[in-house]
């Protein structure tokens, strides 16, 4: 896997795409805050907000940090660390029964 030379499958996006992504990020943030204030959405607050922030997270990592366009090894390393970190958080929360609160 790591033997192949560095390939740039697609060219990096340009400033226009960057600004478009920033607009999307801002829009999602506004939606997040709005959701927080809407009383009717209270029961579904956790899944909605986790989903929205995951989208923001993914957008920054894939486009601003260029993981979508870069060598697969970088993605493997980062996603590996991320998955391990999430597993640790979830496992600890399960051990301390923090989901019940």
């Amino acid at each position: 896997m790591s033997e192949r030379p560095q390939t740039h499958g697609q060219p990096h996006p340009g400033p226009k795409q960057y600004i478009a992504i920033a607009s999307v990020l801002t829009a999602i943030t506004i939606v997040e805050v709005a959701v927080y204030y809407i009383e009717a959405l209270k029961p579904a607050l956790v899944p909605i907000l986790l989903l929205l922030s995951s989208v923001k997270f993914a957008l920054v990592v894939m486009f601003y940090m260029h993981l979508k366009f870069d060598h697969g090894l970088f993605s493997a390393l980062f996603v590996g660390g991320l998955v391990l970190a999430i597993s640790v958080v979830v496992a600890l929360m399960a051990l301390f029964q923090a989901f019940l609160r």
């Binding site: 790591s2 033997e3 192949r4 030379p5 560095q6 990096h12 340009g14 400033p15 960057y18 600004i19 992504i21 920033a22 990020l25 801002t26 943030t29 997040e32 805050v33 959701v35 927080y36 607050l45 956790v46 907000l49 986790l50 929205l52 922030s53 923001k56 997270f57 920054v60 990592v61 486009f63 601003y64 940090m65 060598h71 090894l73 970088f74 390393l77 980062f78 590996g80 660390g81 991320l82 391990l84 970190a85 999430i86 640790v88 958080v89 600890l92 929360m93 301390f96 923090a98 609160r101």
Partner: protein
């Protein structure tokens, strides 16, 4: 073959097994490792979430509009960061510097907000000592703030060094900007999580009785 994080040094053409740059690989391994660092801090916050026995509680002190503004500032700083990299990769060092400084200033603004928030909390009676919420909140956001501070220093250093040695901001050496960029975006995505998990998903207020 051997350029060890030398910011000011024109790298020789590297020959690596994977064809990837040593320093960039190092940065990604570091970020993977930092995931575990912040993961553990966030876990600490979540494990003690809603377990404070005395106030102040989150819903009493949080100022969501202010924090939303801070979150917006960091998102914008990520935009200016990536624009800086794009400019440098095009060979435009002048705009590279401008966008980098803009990023650093947005970071400073974020830190000022955080400082204001912290001091406001302390006057409200929330300190790391007073309850678990205070302890976990200040630790988590404090370490994030420390990462932002380090990032601001790094951004400034890249700009200053590029003025002393223009070659460090040539298109060929855009890696110098790319690396600080990766770090900066990482700090941003950590805030994306903190903003949601800490600020927007507050624990239910304790029942009095």
């Amino acid at each position: 073959m051997q350029q060890a994080g030398a910011l000011g040094h024109t790298p020789e053409v590297e020959h690596t097994t994977t064809g990837l740059n040593h320093r960039k690989l190092l940065m990604w391994v570091f970020l993977a490792s930092d995931c575990l660092f912040f993961g553990t801090l966030i876990a600490t916050y979540l494990l003690y979430r809603g377990k404070s026995t005395v106030g102040p509680y989150p819903h009493e002190v949080f100022d969501i509009p202010l924090t939303s503004y801070s979150a917006f500032l960091l998102l914008m700083s990520s935009l200016t960061m990536v624009l800086a990299l794009a400019a440098v990769q095009r060979g435009n060092a002048k705009w590279g510097r401008i966008w980098l400084l803009a990023t650093a200033l947005l970071g400073c603004h974020f830190l000022v907000n955080q400082g204001w928030e912290f001091s406001h909390f302390v006057t409200e009676g929330l300190t790391p000592r007073v309850n678990l919420f205070g302890a976990t909140f200040f630790t988590l956001t404090g370490f994030h703030g420390a990462h932002v501070t380090l990032g601001v220093f790094w951004l400034t250093a890249v700009v200053v060094i590029s003025l002393l040695r223009p070659a460090t901001m040539s298109a060929k050496n855009s890696l110098n900007v790319e690396l600080v960029g990766l770090y900066w975006h990482f700090v941003d995505i950590v805030w994306i999580i903190i903003f949601t998990v800490v600020y927007l998903l507050q624990p239910a207020p304790p029942l009095h009785g």
